[in-house]
């Protein structure tokens, strides 16, 4: 399968969506991303039993925080797909890209001080 998905989507690999805590999501927004989505395994098929269900709850909570902050919870989503659903992966990447494009760039882009880049340097 040589499927295309938008190049603006940057992938951060984690062993399970259960690893994704709220701070990780908020730090992504601090670093200036326009949106974040989690691609977890299908519900009921988590290798760690409930990782994706916990991630779902955290996403719901983080959405509330983003609303309060003024960025808008719509910039964050959770999707479920199996590792065999490459087609779905590409489709979700396009869907989320369209959604975020419609929302426009993050209002905090390049504005948060003290953000660490990938090498741990503080800007």
């Amino acid at each position: 399968m040589r499927l295309n998905y938008p190049t603006n989507v940057k992938i951060v690999k984690v062993p399970c969506t259960g690893r994704v805590d709220i701070l990780l999501i908020l730090h992504a927004f601090e670093s200036g991303v326009d949106g974040v989505y989690l691609a977890g395994c299908l519900e009921g098929e988590c290798h760690f039993l409930r990782g994706n269900l916990r991630a779902k709850k955290r996403v719901q909570y983080a959405k509330k925080l983003l609303d309060e902050v003024g960025l808008g919870g719509a910039r964050l989503e959770m999707y479920n797909m199996s590792s065999a659903q490459g087609q779905r992966f590409a489709e979700v990447a396009r869907e989320m890209t369209e959604k975020i494009k419609a929302l426009g760039p993050s209002p905090v882009k390049n504005r948060v001080r003290g953000v660490q880049d990938s090498r741990g340097q503080v800007k």
Partner: protein, 222 residues
Amino acid sequence: MIVANRKSLEEILNMLKPYKKVLLLGCNECVTVCAAGGEREVGVLASELKLSRAKDGQEIEIKEQTLERQCDHEYIDQVRPFVGDYEVILSIACGAGIQYVGEKYRTKIVLPGVNTTFLGVTLEQGVWSERCQGCGECVLHMTGGVCPIARCAKSLLNGPCGGSSNGKCEVDKDLDCGWQLIIDRLKELNQLDRYEEIIPVKDWTTSRDGGPRKRLREDLRL
């Protein structure tokens, strides 16, 4: 443990309006366990504050620090080298910790980032429940180990009141009637005869009515 609840971001932002340099202090004890004011919550609050200030085009510099305890001066002393670099301290420890930080740095304004709520237990991950109000004269031996002060909405010493219905309290249909719990437990303990005994009027001077309390152990003092 002491259970607290994070204040809303809006309220915290309002308190912080005049300030650009904030020392945000968490505590590693009770408020960590009840997920209101530990290192993680310090991180989340700092991030929320930075994001919302950035959105409004306003600067904020936040130093995140979580102390072992905010109710012991040894730990509060740890921020002394840099506390002067910040305009204000935002503490998310319990009310005792917040005040004690202020007592140690008398020229600093210390703002509360949480509402300290009760002495309680963890019912399950993410759920906490009140158990004690620190009345200073414990009666648990008379009430089947269930506190009538904290768990009856009216703190009745001889209950239940007429509002108890199907085990629930009239104050809220989802709230267990404290006195129903006491009676159930007395039954389980084979101590229902205790229920016949009238608990005399309580001396509330051991509680808040006697003013702020202090405890002294002469043998431990240096």
